[in-house]
């Protein structure tokens, strides 16, 4: 093969994927490891990579303890309520107690954070959200990471972790290829902090054809966080907890600022409030602990997002769609109108383009909303990801094995989407998790835990062969046919992605089946997935760009398989509005007030599932 092998030796901390989590890790690692070799491998260009590439108009996780607003435990209780109890509260508390220090530094670095002119505190969009002019959020945090790192390798698609040949279950770096030159890159490292992304595009999107890239989460979020870690043998948690977003139709423009700051609200196609009528039946499904509309009214507790989705979906199914966002009142105020538009331009320009194209002026017309296809990720309002150790001073024994944010693979840490059980971290929380992981990784090295790592030449050679196989498959199979993309011996990455999305949609509860699945469907789906896995061995790539798509697809496949397994394991409907187990339509606290944990055997690919206890923060006043 013509591609060069480029080996980077003696890395202490390899950051695989530099979105908000990875940049936080690289930045902080320099402080704790002055003499350590810190290297970043990023699939795109660190200045515009990850979910925040486009910018953000709000930081959704900020306590404001400094302004007397919230304490960390308040945020944990909020996340617990929103996720129907299923949160790793040790990790969530730890993130929340540190997150403000990240935000205060962002402001110092030049990120424009809006201020409340009356009080001097940050301008609140909601209880947890502050408003920013964040078009350059990512380039700013990227600067910080670049200042700390010894080397930044842009355009490296990391495909696999390297494993230590001297000690079982210990990471030894990572490998991948350069999507421009095609060269094979080997990163030998004592620790790896996985900052790769969650998964868009694993469920069939509502958009079709050219618009298939118009997904809510970035199309380049290829589930690589999970693909990389699952393949390395790391245990995963809460992978069934996919999220469905109620957003502006087609453009998927965000609604947070609209609801919270602009005080817009929703109504059905008849102009009626529709949510509350679904609540009595919902309370039957999930129990009064989770939806007590009268009590909730008194305590001002927000309704869990999934339950609001349920009302939305049910109302549309009852024939009273579409659901509209009532913007015509708020947008009469020119200041609020401007905020409404800035909100899109700062983070979802496509929504502004769509309204311009369809002449939807929200001042004179209430725009339509829709519920999206599901997404699997761990930093927004859901908590899929790796089963990680918590901090020593907080975590109970079951949640602690020595190093904060370390997965069950030694030396492999996570941040952002990679860490499971920590919903509502968002951008600032992901950056914070990266910082926590970096400190712990330095300690792991200083404690001598990475001594004696050995990577055999055979492992490096085997992985190289594996990585380039799709190019080989193409070369061999292409000459059998005259032209075109139909070949009896291979499929291309787009064909594979279409097949994956169809399976996930129909068997795992996508929008096409109204988010419904059951044991039978899941078992059929898993059977089809296994055969798809065989076909993925015959995936073909015409060039290096397609090779990138081929490996993204393999990561999406591993993610999806895990989602299937977890969804099958949890025999209840914990989050109506995200998905339904038709054969167990009720929330079942007696059997399922637990976190789901999976392990995929590296060698056999066999899954084992277990329940892990769910601990909650309890205050003095509650005992």
């Amino acid at each position: 093969m013509a591609y060069k092998t480029i080996i980077e030796n003696d890395i202490d901390i390899l950051v695989a994927g530099a979105g908000l989590g990875g940049t936080g890790a690289a930045f902080e690692a320099r402080y704790w490891g002055k003499d350590k070799k810190i290297v970043i491998a990023e699939k795109a260009n660190i200045d515009r990579s990850g979910a925040v590439a486009q910018g953000l108009y709000a930081i959704n996780c900020y306590m404001g303890t400094r302004f007397g607003e919230n304490n960390p435990e308040d945020h944990v209780r909020y996340a617990r309520m929103d996720l129907m109890g299923m949160v790793r509260e040790d990790l969530a508390f730890d993130m929340a107690r540190h997150v403000d220090s990240a935000v205060h530094q962002f402001e110092e670095w030049g990120l424009p954070i809006m201020r409340n002119t009356k009080t001097g505190s940050y301008l609140r969009e909601g209880r947890w959200q502050i408003m920013i002019h964040g078009e350059s959020y990512k380039p700013i945090v990227a600067e910080a990471a670049k200042k700390s790192a010894d080397k930044v390798f842009n355009r490296i698609c990391v495909t696999h972790m390297l494993m230590d040949d001297a000690k079982e279950n210990r990471v030894a770096g990572a490998v991948g290829f350069n999507v421009r030159t095609g060269n094979y890159h080997v990163f030998k490292a004592k620790t790896v902090i996985c900052g790769a992304g969650g998964a868009s595009n694993i469920f069939k999107p509502r958009s079709v054809g050219e618009g298939a890239g118009r997904v809510w989460y970035a199309p380049w979020s290829s589930g690589s966080a999970y693909g990389l870690m699952i393949e390395a043998g790391a245990k995963m948690t809460q992978m069934e907890n996919r999220i469905v977003l109620a957003r502006f139709k087609d453009g998927y423009g965000p609604v947070g600022a609209y609801f919270l700051h602009l005080k817009t609200y929703t109504q059905n196609g008849l102009g009626e409030e529709y949510e509350s009528k679904w609540f009595p039946a919902l309370t039957e499904m999930v129990g009064k602990e989770y939806l007590d509309t009268e009590g909730q009214h008194l305590s001002h507790k927000p309704i869990p997002t999934c339950l609001r989705n349920h009302a939305f979906i049910s109302e549309v199914n009852a024939g009273r769609g579409p659901i509209h966002m009532v913007t015509m009142e708020a947008f009469q105020d020119p200041h609020l109108e401007e905020i409404g538009w800035h909100n899109f331009l700062g983070m979802t320009v496509g929504q502004a383009v769509l309204w311009a194209a369809t002449d939807v002026d929200p001042k004179y017309e209430n725009p339509e909303l829709t519920t999206s296809e599901p997404y699997v990720m761990g930093s927004h309002a859901t908590g899929c990801g790796a089963w990680c150790s918590g901090p020593e001073d907080v975590s109970p024994d079951e949640y602690f094995w020595g190093y904060n944010r370390m997965t069950t693979v030694e030396g492999l840490f996570g941040a952002g989407d990679a860490v499971g059980g920590t919903p509502h971290a968002f951008s600032s929380g992901s950056f914070t998790e990266g910082r926590l992981a970096a400190k712990a990784a330095c300690k792991y090295i200083d404690d001598g835990k990475a001594d004696g790592i050995n990577v055999s030449d055979k492992q490096i050679a085997d992985l190289k062969e594996k990585i380039y196989k799709p190019l080989e498959t193409y070369t061999v199979g292409r000459n059998e046919i005259v032209a075109g993309s139909v070949n009896p011996n291979y499929i291309n990455p787009r064909q594979g992605l279409d097949r994956l999305q169809k399976m996930m949609d129909e068997y795992c509860g996508g929008f096409g089946v109204n988010y419904m699945t059951n044991e039978k469907l899941l078992q059929i789906g898993l059977k089809k997935m296994a055969i798809f896995g065989e076909d993925l061995e015959k995936i073909a790539a015409e060039d290096i760009h397609e090779l990138l798509r081929a490996w993204e697809l393999k990561h999406r496949f591993l993610t999806s398989e895990s989602v299937f397994q977890h969804t099958l394991f949890r025999k209840e409907t914990r989050w109506p509005g995200y998905y339904y187990r038709g054969d167990a339509m009720k929330l079942d606290d007696e059997n399922w007030h637990v976190l789901t944990v999976s392990h995929r055997d590296r060698n056999t690919g066999e899954y084992t599932m277990e329940k892990a206890p769910c601990y909650h923060l309890v205050g003095d006043d509650e005992e």
């Binding site: 902080e28 303890t65 400094r66 107690r97 890239g213 602990e289 538009w341 320009v349 769509l354």
Partner: protein
């Protein structure tokens, strides 16, 4: 609204290729100019549009739901620290200009070089503190929150 490139404005400099998060801006080998080779993996993030020194890249709404005849243009200026948008509706009735800051400081000047910071002592290493903490948590002299300081315990069971 995938991106496209105007033939007469592009000089093939490759800034868009360099920045695209989705790796879909490539140089056409015959014309030596950039183009979007995979529109259905375009997120409309405008990274390439902002990066293009010749304003050669524009966006045309996704064909599956956006009618023709609209425009959303942008100029991002790191020196001025601003981003300027212009939105034109298909029916010509709305033509908006919007301006926002992108930074409050000259580019990159506010970011510390952590290798120059004083090394943390062993007490700091053994603590739960991160760089700049505890000061930056509340911008005062208070310590980091712990379960103990906040009167909390972690318990198994169902609590709401």
């Amino acid at each position: 609204m995938p991106t496209f490139v105007y033939m007469t404005r592009c000089d093939g400099c490759g800034q868009c290729v360099d920045i695209c998060p989705s790796d879909i801006m490539h140089i056409d080998k015959t014309l030596r100019r950039a183009y979007n080779l995979e529109p259905n993996m375009c997120w409309e993030c405008y990274s390439c549009v902002k990066a293009c020194p010749h304003h050669a890249i524009d966006v045309r709404g996704y064909a599956d739901f956006a009618p023709l005849g609209h425009s959303v243009r942008v100029v991002r200026d790191e020196e001025k620290g601003t981003i300027a948008w212009r939105i034109k509706f298909r029916n010509g009735k709305k033509d908006m200009e919007l301006l926002a800051p992108i930074t409050t400081k000259p580019w990159g000047t506010g970011i510390p070089q952590l290798s120059d910071e004083a090394a943390p002592g062993s007490e700091m290493r053994d603590s739960e503190l991160l760089f700049n903490e505890p000061k930056y948590v509340r911008m005062d002299d208070g310590g980091l929150h712990t379960l103990e300081s906040n009167g909390l315990t972690l318990k198994e069971g169902v609590y709401y």
